[in-house]
């Protein structure tokens, strides 16, 4: 698609913010989320989890548990499919431990019983004998000589010789000659950064209800970002044909990437297969923290050279990511996103995927990118400070634009980084005075955005209203966006469209709702499906009029004769065509199935003011502005919501949130009281600016917006805090004790 084919103006519905179609369900408590399903004869599942960070499982004795009241089924790893390899094997191993428990909270067995309490009580009666093994949870320690080996032979052939077996994948990319570039610089700054793992923190714990009968047919209801993926993985783990398992996605209470895989779903099915009854499993919050995927923790070194005028001459980053006891850390994303905002002649980035005794990391909003931005944008800030340069002007000077060879390889098409920087510079926030004790931070951020397999169908009803069926769960108002785009194409009111999320039996494969792909890919598919339906509508009108279908246009919900026939017939409204569909050729349905590849990359610039209390080291965010390119905002209020939500999560990551492991390798803070996410009184209003630089890969220019918003906050806040505290903060979170210590050390030094 070229930019000429992109509609960027003249919209009637797109760009407005009507009430969402599922609004009433969600404000009345009627919407059914994962844990809200019940079935006749349903059992409740409970999972037995390892209390050890690393331990060989010598034996599992279920005799007492099996005899307990109400217990109907018990499963261990032996009850799952054995012939697995690659990522399916990794997921299986994470869902239920094999020979070895690999982290605190790793599942080792599961029970189904007639009540939640009976299942939990029985789980306590399962006797597991462990041989405790040495463990490691820190990324640098896990790479060091002598570190306990998580699993020998897990490394792939990308890893250079001589590294510890816990280093399982290696990435290197870039272009130019960084050494020559550093030699050209007037100032080179290199620093070391660390970030702790954080959790996506969706308020809805994982929950599912699974049925697998003796006929080999299964049903699964669960909270997920991608039910086709659940279908694919669960069927593999249970050794059944994919099509025999039908998965229905519940309403989803937040995911942020963390609900893109499976944890309890295969277990419910395995229990159901034995008990021959439906089995429901709901994780506790503690289980969510201990056993579902947090982010990677990182250790990073970033070195950047700059000329006195602000030109970056070279940049190099080394990014070590710990992704739990499996090869999975998104280190290549970290490496590839790190310098993407900048037009660099000499750049090199290296990534290490490191295993440790922690839960398998899962995607979290722009996985891997926020950490890189924290390190890179901190060094740029320090360079600006040393050279007396304005942070926005310096970024503008080096900003990537259309035609830039990206640090990660491709050449950028039309992108909107410069526009976000200019909008940030022009924003009153940037020039507002600061009070004593306050600092202002800036950061850019980048995310690729994804397309992926997408299938949408749009059926017209006899009254001329329309039903869209999509396969991407609605996490933040996407039904509204789909309905707006369909309304635009069909020329019928937004209210006349109902958007439903189909189960896996009702549409072709749909990739998970991730990678900020829903409004882009399902949106593109909705537009194309609507155009397909419009073509058919025009065909029906043409047949009635006895003219060539090519000579019929679609205008404002009506077929209109055009060209030589213009004016020959009255416009035929959609309702009239649809009323007769049965006798004019049958049902009218539009389809679209493809894997769109034109997801435009997205950039943002954030501005934040922070105030540091010198007595306690506590940071308050006093003002926050998000400027981000949306390509085209379909439903602006929900675009703003994505910006604000990403910023808020970033504020938590920057200031409070962290996984704290004890010396025993156990997670110390597995409840919301101790893993503190931002509450309403922690935050200011979050101002947003929607920049619209159309994406040539979408009919209306849409770029995904869900993820880029979490990339800049940690860096922007670190830059603000460093200014306010008078000392460079290089470790996240910037919790009060850490800031206080840094301030004390700086005074002492």
């Amino acid at each position: 698609m070229s930019l000429d084919d992109v509609k960027t103006s003249g919209f009637k519905y797109v760009g407005t913010s009507p009430d969402r179609p599922d609004g009433v369900d969600k404000v009345t408590g009627r919407a059914k989320f994962g844990a809200d399903a019940y079935a006749a004869g349903m059992l409740h599942g409970a999972i037995v989890r390892s209390p050890h960070a690393h331990a060989r499982i010598i034996s599992i004795d279920t005799t007492k548990a099996a005899a307990a009241e109400g217990v109907k089924a018990i499963v261990t790893r032996a009850d799952f499919h054995t012939d697995l390899s690659g990522e399916n094997w990794n997921i299986m191993e994470n869902v239920m431990a094999g020979d070895t428990a690999l982290y605190d909270g790793h599942a080792v067995a599961a029970i189904a019983a007639t009540s939640v309490l009976a299942a939990r009580d029985a789980a306590k009666l399962v006797e597991v004998t462990y041989e405790i093994l040495p463990h490691v949870t820190d990324v640098d320690e896990a790479m060091a000589q002598g570190a306990p080996i998580i699993r020998a032979g897990a490394a792939d052939n990308s890893v250079p010789d001589g590294l510890h077996p816990n280093v399982v994948r290696y990435h290197e990319s870039g272009h130019g000659d960084v050494d020559a570039g550093f030699a050209e610089a007037d100032l080179v700054i290199e620093d070391h950064f660390r970030t702790e793992a954080t959790h996506q923190g969706y308020i809805e714990p994982h929950a599912c209800l699974g049925t697998l009968g003796g006929d080999g047919k299964g049903e699964m209801w669960c909270t997920t970002q991608g039910h086709w993926n659940v279908q694919k993985i669960c069927s593999a783990l249970l050794g059944m044909e994919t099509s025999q398992l039908r998965v229905t996605a519940s309403e989803i209470g937040g995911g942020f990437g963390g609900k893109t895989t499976v944890f309890i779903e295969p277990v419910a099915l395995a229990l159901s297969r034995i008990a021959n009854r439906p089995v429901k499993i709901v994780m506790s919050r503690s289980e969510v923290f201990r056993a579902s995927g947090p982010t990677s923790s990182t250790s990073m070194d970033v070195k950047i050279g700059m000329k006195k005028d602000g030109t970056i001459t070279a940049a190099k980053g080394v990014f070590r990511l710990q992704g739990g006891a499996f090869p999975s850390a998104p280190m290549e994303f970290t490496a590839m996103c790190a310098f993407a905002p900048y037009n660099l002649s000499n750049v090199k980035q290296i990534g290490y995927d490191v295993m440790a005794n922690r839960p398998k990391q899962a995607a979290y909003r722009a996985p891997g990118s926020p950490m890189a931005a924290f390190a890179v944008e901190s060094v740029i800030d320090e360079l600006c400070k040393e050279l007396g340069l304005d942070p926005i002007d310096t970024r503008l000077k080096n900003a990537s634009h259309e035609g830039t060879k990206a640090s990660y390889g491709p050449t950028f098409q039309r992108i909107g980084l410069v526009e976000t920087l200019e909008a940030a510079k022009a924003h009153p926030h940037y020039s507002a005075p600061l009070k004593p004790g306050q600092g202002r931070g800036i950061s850019c951020g980048f995310w690729f955005n994804f397309g992926g397999e997408t299938s949408v169908s749009l059926a017209l009803s006899m009254d001329g209203s329309a039903q869209i069926v999509v396969g991407t769960p609605d996490i933040g108002g996407s039904r509204a966006s789909m309905a707006l785009m369909a309304a635009e194409e069909l020329g019928i009111p937004y209210e006349n469209i109902r958007c439903t999320i189909a189960d896996t039996a009702s549409l072709g494969y749909n990739e998970v709702s991730h990678g900020s792909r829903v409004t882009y890919a399902s949106g593109l598919a909705t537009i194309k499906a609507a155009r397909d339906a419009v073509k058919k509508l025009c065909g029906r009108a043409a047949a009635k009029w006895g003219i060539d279908p090519e000579a019929v246009d679609w205008v404002d919900g009506c077929a209109v004769p055009s060209g030589p026939n213009a004016g020959d017939f009255d416009p035929m409204p959609i309702a009239e065509i649809c009323k007769r569909m049965g006798s004019t050729g049958g049902p009218i349905v539009g389809h679209f199935e493809a894997s769109p590849e034109g997801a435009g990359v997205s950039f943002a610039t954030h501005i934040v003011d922070a105030e540091v209390d010198p007595e306690t080291g506590k940071t308050s965010i006093v003002r926050y502005t998000v400027v981000q390119d949306a390509g085209k905002a379909i439903h602006p209020a929900y675009v703003e919501g994505q910006y604000q939500g990403g910023a808020a999560q970033g504020i938590g990551w920057a200031l409070n949130e962290e996984y704290i492991y004890g010396k025993d390798g156990r997670l110390q803070n597995d409840v919301f009281l101790d893993y503190r996410i931002p509450v309403a009184s922690d935050l200011p209003m979050i101002d947003t600016v929607i920049v619209e630089v159309p994406n040539p890969g979408h009919p209306y220019g849409v770029r995904g917006v869900g993820e880029t918003s979490i990339v800049p906050p940690m860096a922007a806040i670190a830059n603000a805090v460093s200014q306010a505290a008078g000392v460079r903060m290089t470790e996240l979170p910037m919790s009060p004790p850490r800031v206080l210590k840094a301030m004390d050390d700086a005074k002492g030094g």
Partner: protein, 163 residues
């Protein structure tokens, strides 16, 4: 273990149930009465997703035992709308896009309704502190706070007109 017989009222309806002494009010509402509007986000009193009122007082139903409901009046999200007619807060939450995933929404609505009944003219800071026990991971709270402030202003002007 023998079960406890409890007689109570939920959203004005007389209700009886049997529950295990260990079951929370949240468990009973959801699993026995199938009123699944109240959500369990934590089970430890930290997230507010399970917010209900007990004799008009805002409580976390995960911290109340089912047996403790005996003789009291429980109010849940299912009782906030008047039939088809949404409560002004519900309407404003939709209009302001104050929900993304919506899992926190029932708890936040129950909590803010309790706030506005106590304090019809709260400041932004008062709203933020009142809601500090209700976690929302999606919205950054901005649009929630605006929806609450806007509802409060509307309700105040309605009241003025009525007098």
């Amino acid at each position: 273990m023998s079960k406890i017989h409890v007689t109570t009222s939920v959203n004005g309806d007389a209700v009886e149930f049997l529950c295990d002494p260990r079951e929370t009010l949240l468990d009973v509402l959801r699993d026995r009465l199938h009123l699944t509007g109240a959500k369990e986000g934590c089970g430890t009193g930290d997230c507010g997703a399970c917010s209900v009122t007990l004799d008009g007082r805002l409580v976390c139903s995960c911290l109340v035992l089912g047996a403790e409901a005996e003789g009291h009046e429980i109010g849940t999200i299912e009782g906030i709308a008047n039939g088809e007619e949404l409560h002004p807060l519900q309407q404003k939450f939709i209009e302001h896009a104050a929900l993304q995933c919506g899992i926190c929404t029932p708890g936040i609505l129950v909590a803010t309704k309790a706030l506005l009944e106590k304090n019809p003219d709260p400041t932004e800071t008062e709203v933020r502190y009142w809601l500090a026990g209700n976690l929302c991971r999606c919205t950054g709270y901005d649009k929630i706070i605006r929806a609450v402030m806007d509802t409060a202003a509307d309700l105040r002007s309605d009241m003025k007109e009525a007098t």
